[in-house]
C-alpha cells in the first residue's frame, strides 16, 4: 500500500517498522516534522517519545537507552548535529547501536534552513573526537528516507555502531509516494552486552573508557577492523553509466539533479551517466571505480567540494589516478540548489574537452 507523504514523516515510518522503541529529539527546522511524527506515532504504538532539553541531551538519552538494550533514534539538522558529535563519539566508543538523522541545512553557524550538503565530512568521517566512523546512508527519495532509515537500524544493530541518515532539507520537506514496508522487523536481542535491569544482564558494563593505553589501542584496532569489515555493505546506484563519457557523481538530492541532467544531456547527444553512492560510509569505492574507469568525472554537490574530495580519494585508492585528477565540481551553497541547466552546461563544456 502507498501513502503520499513528506520525507521527514517517512523517516519515522521506517524507524517504527525497523523496531525503534524510543525517540529523543529537539526541534529544529527543517527536521521538525520528524519529531512531530514521532510525538504522535510512537505513543500510538505504545513506544516512547521524549522531547529533550537540547541536542546534547538527545544524544546522551540515546546513549542510556541504547546502553539499556533498546533501538532508539533522534533527528536534527546542522547545528544540532554539531552538538551531537561528542555523543556520537561516545556511542561509537561504547559500541552502541543508535540512529541519528541529519536533515542538512545551510551553514556554517546559524546559516539558514534551506538545503545544503555541508555536513558530509562529520557525517561520514566521524565528526567527534577519536578514531571512529558512523555507518552513513544517503537517501535520494521519500521511499528511501523510509527504507534507508530502517536499513540504518539494521546496520547499527548488526555492527553495534551509531548510524547516520544524511539527507537535506529539500528531501525532508518534499512529498512523494511511499510504498509501506511489508512487515515489521523483530527486535534484536542485546542481552549479551546491554544493561537491561534484569538478572541475565547484571554483569554487563557499557563503557567507552580503557584506562590502559595498550587496551585502548587494541580497542581502536578492533574498531578499525569492524569498519573494514562493513565495506561489504557498500551500496551504489548508476544511471545511464554503461557507455557514458561523462560520469556525474552525486549523493542524495544531487544525484536526482544529476539524473535529470543526464537525460537532458543524452537528448543533446552527450553521453552522460550518473554514479550515486547509497552508502557514504562505507564508501562504494569499487563501484565508483567501475563506473568511472576511462571517463571524465564531475561531481554535483551542495557544499564546497567535500564530496569531490572523497571521490578523488576513492578513485586514487582504486588506482584510478588519472580519473581522480580529472574530477571537476559544479556546486552551490547557502541554500541554493544546483540548477539542472547549470549542471547540463557544465557537463557539456567538459564533454567538449573529450
Amino acid at each position: 500500500m502507498t501513502k503520499f507523504i513528506k520525507g521527514n514523516e517517512a523517516v519515522v515510518i521506517g524507524a517504527l517498522y525497523a523496531g525503534c522503541d524510543l525517540y529523543f529529539g529537539y526541534p529544529i527546522t527543517p527536521a521538525s516534522e520528524i519529531a512531530h511524527g514521532a510525538a504522535k506515532w510512537f505513543p500510538m504504538l505504545g513506544r516512547t517519545f521524549v522531547q529533550a532539553e537540547c541536542e546534547t541531551a538527545s544524544v546522551n538519552m540515546m546513549f542510556g537507552a541504547a546502553g539499556a538494550g533498546k533501538l532508539c533514534m533522534t533527528a536534527t539538522s546542522g547545528p544540532g548535529f554539531s552538538l551531537m558529535q561528542e555523543g556520537l563519539s561516545y556511542l561509537a566508543g561504547a559500541e552502541l547501536p543508535a540512529v541519528v538523522v541529519d536533515v542538512m541545512r545551510a551553514g556554517p553557524g546559524l546559516g539558514n534552513v534551506y538545503p545544503e550538503q555541508g555536513d558530509y565530512t562529520p557525517a561520514v568521517k566521524g565528526g567527534g573526537h577519536g578514531n571512529y566512523s558512523t555507518f552513513t546512508v544517503a537517501p535520494a527519495s521519500v521511499q528511501e528516507m523510509c527504507d534507508l532509515t530502517a536499513h540504518a537500524f539494521r546496520m547499527a544493530a548488526k555492527y553495534r555502531n551509531p548510524a547516520v541518515v544524511l539527507v537535506d532539507g529539500l528531501q525532508g520537506q518534499m512529498m512523494e509516494t511511499l510504498v509501506l514496508p511489508e512487515r515489521e522487523d523483530a527486535r534484536p536481542d542485546f542481552s549479551e552486552w546491554a544493561a537491561q535491569g534484569v538478572p541475565a544482564t547484571r554483569g554487563n558494563l557499557v563503557k567507552s573508557i580503557f584506562l590502559d593505553a595498550a587496551a585502548q589501542e587494541k580497542f581502536n584496532e578492533r574498531l578499525q577492523a569492524k569498519y573494514a569489515s562493513w565495506q561489504c555493505e557498500a551500496r551504489a546506484e548508476t544511471f545511464l553509466a554503461d557507455d557514458a563519457e561523462i560520469l556525474m557523481a552525486g549523493y542524495g538530492i544531487s544525484a536526482r539533479i544529476a539524473r535529470t541532467a543526464a537525460a537532458a544531456l543524452r537528448a543533446r547527444g552527450v553521453k552522460a551517466g550518473v554514479f550515486r553512492p547509497v552508502t557514504l560510509s562505507p564508501f562504494p569505492s569499487k563501484a565508483l571505480a567501475e563506473a568511472a574507469r576511462g571517463r571524465k568525472v564531475m561531481t554535483i554537490e551542495l557544499d564546497a567540494g567535500q564530496f569531490a574530495d572523497d571521490v578523488r580519494l576513492n578513485l586514487a585508492r582504486e588506482g584510478l589516478g588519472a580519473e581522480a585528477a580529472s574530477v571537476k565540481t559544479v556546486s552551490r551553497m547557502g541554500g541554493e540548489v544546483v540548477a539542472v541547466d547549470d549542471a547540463v552546461a557544465f557537463a557539456a563544456e567538459l564533454a567538449r574537452g573529450c
Binding site: F4, W41, M61, G64, M175, V198
Partner: protein, 480 residues
C-alpha cells in the same frame, strides 16, 4: 586470603586491571568510599541488584563499576542524568540510579539534571558534593565555598568574580515533579547512618516507581582540601554544612500516586488519551478510497511540472498536494515540494509538483509546464520561467499583467470571485482545481482529482462533500 564480604560489591575488583584487587581507588578519608559502601549495601539489602542499572559519571565516581555488583552504563561527563533518562525510559521495570559529582551535575550537566528532575524522570540521582572537582585536580566547582582555595581559585573563591556557591537541592526544590529531595552528609558516624537511610529511600522510591529523587551528599575530599582525613571531615561538617544545611527538603513518598485534587481546567488544556494502534500496518493503513498500489513505469506518459503560487492562506500548498495525490492514485510518479522556512509564515506561498510516467529526477521546478497564480506578484515572479507550450492559470483579480512568454497560454480564472459568490471564500483553491479539470491542464483524470480533493478533507468529512459540490458547480459555471 581473608576477605570481608561487602554486601552489594564484587568480591574482588578485576575491572580495575589488577588481579585480586580488594581496595578501592579512593583516597583515605574520601566521602566517595563511604557512599560507595552505603549504595552497595542499600542495593543488596533491598534485593535490587538484578534490577538495578547504575549510570556512572565522569569524575572520581567514574569507577563505581569496579565495585557495585549490578549492571552499569558509564556516561559522558555531565550527562549521567540524560543517560539515566534514556535507560529509565527504555527499561521502566529497572531501578535506575545516576551517580554524579558536583562538577558533573552542578556545572556541565546542570541543565540535564534539572530538566530530568522537572520531567519527573523515574530514576534516583545520588549527587556527591565535595565542593570541588576531584579527579581533574581540585578546581573550583559551582559548589565551592566562598574563600575556599582550589587550583583555579588559588587566592580563595572571590564572590565578586565567581559568584556564590550553588545550592542544588534548593534550586531543584522549586520544581513540581520530584518526589524526594534531601541533603545528607558522611562526615561522621551519626551522619553516615542518616545518609544510609536516605540512600535506601532513593532505591525504594525507584523500586516502587514513585518518581524522581535527588539525594545530595556532602563528602570530604582530604586530598584536594589539603587536610588529613579527620580535619577534612571537620571541614565538611563545619564549613560545608554552614553553607549547605542538611535537610529533607521534600518527601512526597507517601502521597505520590495518590490522586491529587484536580483544579478546574480549561478544555483547551486537557490531556487527551492516546489513541492506540496494534501495529504499524494498522497505524499507517490508507483511509478507504485513497488506497493505491506503487507507481507504474510508463515511458509514454511525459513528465509534467507544475508550480502553484499565491498568498499564504489561499490554499496553495493543499492545491498542489491535491494534484500530486491525484497522480499517485493514477499510479504515476508524483512529487510535491513547498517553499518553506520563514517565508512560510509570512506573505507568500508556493509549491512545486512533478508528475511523470518514469522516476522523477530533480524535484526543483525551474521551468513549469503549468503555472497556477492566485495573485499578481506570483505571476510577475514565475511567468517568465514557464516552458513554451505551457499554460498559466491566473486569478482574474491580478488585473492587467504583462503578456506571458511566447508560446505560453494564459487563462484568467475568476477563482476568488466565484468562491465568494458561492459563499465559501476559502474555497478559491477548489475553484482553481475546477479550472484545472475543466480545461484539461493537469493531464490527470477528473475522477482522481475529485478523489484527491475529498481525501484532503479526510479529517472534516462534511467539508469533503461540500467541496465536491463546489467543484462541480464551478465547472458548470466556467465558460468552455
Amino acid at each position: 586470603m581473608n576477605t570481608i564480604e561487602q554486601k552489594g560489591m564484587y568480591a574482588e575488583f578485576p575491572r580495575c586491571g589488577k588481579e585480586h584487587a580488594r581496595s578501592t581507588h579512593y583516597c583515605a578519608g574520601c566521602g566517595h568510599g563511604i557512599v560507595n559502601k552505603l549504595v552497595a549495601e542499600a542495593c543488596a539489602e533491598l534485593g535490587l541488584q538484578d534490577r538495578t542499572i547504575f549510570v556512572d559519571p565522569v569524575g572520581c565516581g567514574v569507577f563505581t563499576y569496579y565495585y557495585w555488583d549490578a549492571a552499569h552504563i558509564s556516561a559522558a561527563h555531565g550527562r549521567a542524568s540524560a543517560a539515566a533518562t534514556g535507560a529509565a525510559r527504555a527499561r521502566p521495570d529497572a531501578v535506575t540510579i545516576a551517580y554524579q559529582g558536583d562538577g558533573d551535575l552542578g556545572a556541565i550537566g546542570f541543565n540535564n539534571a534539572f530538566q530530568a528532575a522537572s520531567r519527573g524522570e523515574k530514576f534516583g540521582c545520588i549527587f556527591i558534593n565535595n565542593s570541588l572537582y576531584g579527579m581533574t585536580g581540585g578546581q573550583m566547582a559551582p559548589t565551592t565555598l566562598e574563600g575556599e582555595r582550589t587550583t583555579t581559585t588559588p587566592f580563595g573563591r572571590d564572590p565578586e568574580l565567581t559568584g556564590h556557591p550553588l545550592h542544588v537541592c534548593e534550586v531543584f526544590n522549586q520544581l513540581k515533579a520530584p518526589v524526594y529531595i534531601a541533603r545528607v552528609s558522611v562526615a561522621d558516624t551519626a551522619r553516615i547512618m542518616q545518609a544510609k537511610r536516605a540512600i535506601r529511600k532513593v532505591f525504594e522510591i525507584q523500586r516502587d516507581r514513585k518518581g524522581y529523587a535527588l539525594l545530595e551528599i556532602l563528602a570530604p575530599c582530604p586530598t584536594n582540601f589539603g587536610l588529613d582525613p579527620l580535619r577534612a571531615a571537620e571541614f565538611c561538617k563545619n564549613e560545608m554544612e554552614r553553607e549547605f544545611p542538611l535537610s529533607v527538603f521534600r518527601d512526597r513518598t507517601q502521597d505520590a500516586g495518590a490522586a491529587a485534587e484536580a483544579p478546574e481546567q480549561s478544555p483547551l488544556l486537557a490531556v487527551k488519551p492516546v489513541p492506540r494502534a496494534a501495529s504499524c500496518a494498522e497505524l499507517f493503513a490508507a483511509p478507504a478510497g485513497s488506497e493505491a498500489p506503487a507507481a507504474e513505469n510508463d515511458p509514454s506518459v511525459p513528465e509534467r511540472r507544475f508550480k502553484f503560487a499565491g498568498y499564504g492562506g489561499q490554499g496553495i500548498l493543499s492545491l498542489g498536494i491535491c494534484v500530486a495525490e491525484a497522480a499517485r492514485l493514477e499510479r504515476r510518479h508524483s512529487l510535491w515540494f513547498p517553499s518553506y522556512g520563514p517565508e512560510q509564515r509570512g506573505g507568500s506561498a508556493s509549491c512545486s509538483v512533478v508528475v511523470s510516467g518514469t522516476p522523477i529526477g530533480s524535484p526543483a521546478v525551474e521551468h513549469p509546464d503549468v503555472l497556477v497564480c492566485m495573485n499578481r506578484p506570483s505571476y510577475e515572479r514565475f511567468a517568465g520561467d514557464v516552458n513554451p507550450g505551457g499554460t498559466i492559470m491566473l486569478d482574474e483579480s491580478a488585473g492587467d499583467v504583462p503578456p506571458p512568454p511566447d508560446g505560453v497560454k494564459l487563462l484568467r480564472i475568476p477563482a476568488i470571485r466565484m468562491a465568494e459568490e458561492f459563499g465559501v471564500p476559502k474555497a478559491a483553491n477548489t475553484m482553481m482545481l475546477a479550472a484545472l479539470r475543466k480545461y484539461k491542464v493537469s493531464g490527470l483524470s477528473d475522477e482522481s482529482l475529485e478523489t484527491a480533493l475529498a481525501a484532503s478533507f479526510r479529517k472534516k468529512p462534511q467539508l469533503a462533500d461540500k467541496n465536491r459540490e463546489l467543484l462541480r458547480m464551478a465547472e458548470d459555471r466556467m465558460p468552455d
